[in-house]
Amino acid sequence: MTRELMKGNVAMAEAAIRAGLDAYFGYPITPQSELLEWMSKRMPEEGRVFLQAESEVAAINMVYGAACTGARVMTSTSGPGISLMAEGISYIAGTEVPAVIVDVVRGGPGLGNIAPSQGDYRQVAHGAGHGDFFPIVLAPSSVQEAVDLITEAFDLAEKYRTVVFIVADGSIGQMMEPVSLPEPRAIQREAPDWAVTGAEGRPRRTLTSLYLQPEEEEEVNLRLVRRWREAEANEIRYREYYLDDAEYVVMGFGTAGRVALSAVRAARAQGIRVGLFRPVSLRPFPYQAVRELAEKAKAFLVVEMNGGQMLDDVKAAAQGQVPIRFYGRMGGVVPFPDEVLDEIHALVSEPPTLDEDPRARWLDNMQRRMS
């Protein structure tokens, strides 16, 4: 299969087009802008909709409207844009229409910076908007995986009538890697049976997120929970590396996960029996798989480009069965493999205890490093 060398942002855009995207609405923000740029060139070429909105708030509401017609639709942004979109994302979830949202994460909070970060984990995996709903959240660690997940994201969004996030930190958006792109799929021509497409000749349909009667709203809420249980049963995704005989397990997603892979290989070369567990679906989170590892492993090392946001999910999954060490770089700093290798050495030589707070030790170490 022929491969092309593509920037992550461009590859994600092209993959979405090939997945049969009807309409894209967005607003520029670094480190995501190449995605929107590519769409601005390619969507009109394909005779489809590209629209640069006046703001992220407008863009997400255009996504909402288009999704209600049964169109395949997406937007892309970075953290500050997700914050602005939160209301619209919740409306989309409450209306039970499918949409794909790409978050190319930058340093934060606030205006932060444009360097790669994983600081939006909690925002998208545990928040994403007000009210009771569960978005599916997928985190690629390479350009090829980003392409594959984008393609899948549209199917998942339609299957569960939900919002699907692709969370790619800035480095996935900006780096170039060889990719095999999927064959273009035809635009979906037949609207789903819930879409509002003009009621001539058929009974009217209503799409709304407004349910004034609490009992009525509760019915919707329960349907969302039931649908989510189905997603939890079917859509867990993760990658395992060198885990067969591993005594120690490193955990990381996205770029932190692949940086950890280099460190794990280096540690293996030194005879340390260590493996890597890389969650791909951050929501649903692979609690069961982590729990099983917790029963086998001597200790975990969680590596992230944030202050331990996934760490809390790992702790919840491990249920106190395994001691955990944490290493995070923040502010847009990408860790080098050498740093993670040092952490693996420390994990072995000064193992954490079951009752210690992994963040406390990490903060002490960071303070020593800075002074």
Binding site: L5, M175, E177, P178, T255, V259, R265, P337, D338
Partner: protein, 182 residues
């Protein structure tokens, strides 16, 4: 096996492009490859660098603390990255924009006047290709021919007229390197 190359210079010197040419050649030769740019709020004349990693298996980190190869197109890049090169590694530096030698004695070095050589060939902007030609003489993972083929395959139509000039610059760099390696 993994080869790590850091290319650094001023914005506008073709730092990112030189890295992309290597990445294309690696991809076409069947390797896994990552090209990782510095993408800060920078502009022409500011600093620019990119890291290219070539491997025969799934690549982990797209960045390394200690690259095996440094191609430094200007003095600030050599100052900043010379200490980071792995012992036994390779430094290719642009003498046209340096006021000093390479100080490390535990690395190999090729110091060549890339801007001067490129100017003699008629285009100062080809200094990046002169440097790349020199580097390729010492890079086991890719040959000069593979890089030339990649340029031909991937240079956009509107830039194809520059192909021969790029070849001449690569060849000139390679020819000089043979005499300069220390």
């Amino acid at each position: 096996m993994q080869t790590e190359i850091l290319i650094a210079g001023f914005g506008g010197q073709g730092v990112l492009f030189a890295g992309q040419v290597l990445a294309y050649a690696a991809m076409d030769s069947g390797y896994e490859v990552t090209w990782f740019p510095s993408y800060g709020p920078e502009m022409r004349g500011g600093t620019a660098n990119c890291t290219v990693i070539i491997a025969d298996e799934e690549i982990g980190s797209p960045l390394v603390a200690h690259p095996q190869v440094l191609m430094a197109l200007n003095a600030p890049s050599l100052d900043k990255f010379e200490p980071q090169v792995v012992p036994g590694g390779l430094i290719v530096a642009n003498a046209s924009l340096l006021n000093r030698e390479v100080e490390r004695d535990d690395v190999r070095a090729i110091i060549l006047k890339a801007n001067h050589i490129a100017e003699d060939l008629g285009d100062r902007r080809m200094a990046n290709m002169v440097m790349l030609g020199a580097l390729l003489t010492q890079l086991p993972v890719l040959t000069l021919e593979q890089v030339k083929t990649a340029l031909k395959e991937h240079l956009p139509e509107r830039k194809q007229y520059l192909l021969e000039a790029n070849y001449r610059a690569l060849d000139a760099g390679a020819a000089q390197a043979a005499e300069l390696i220390v």
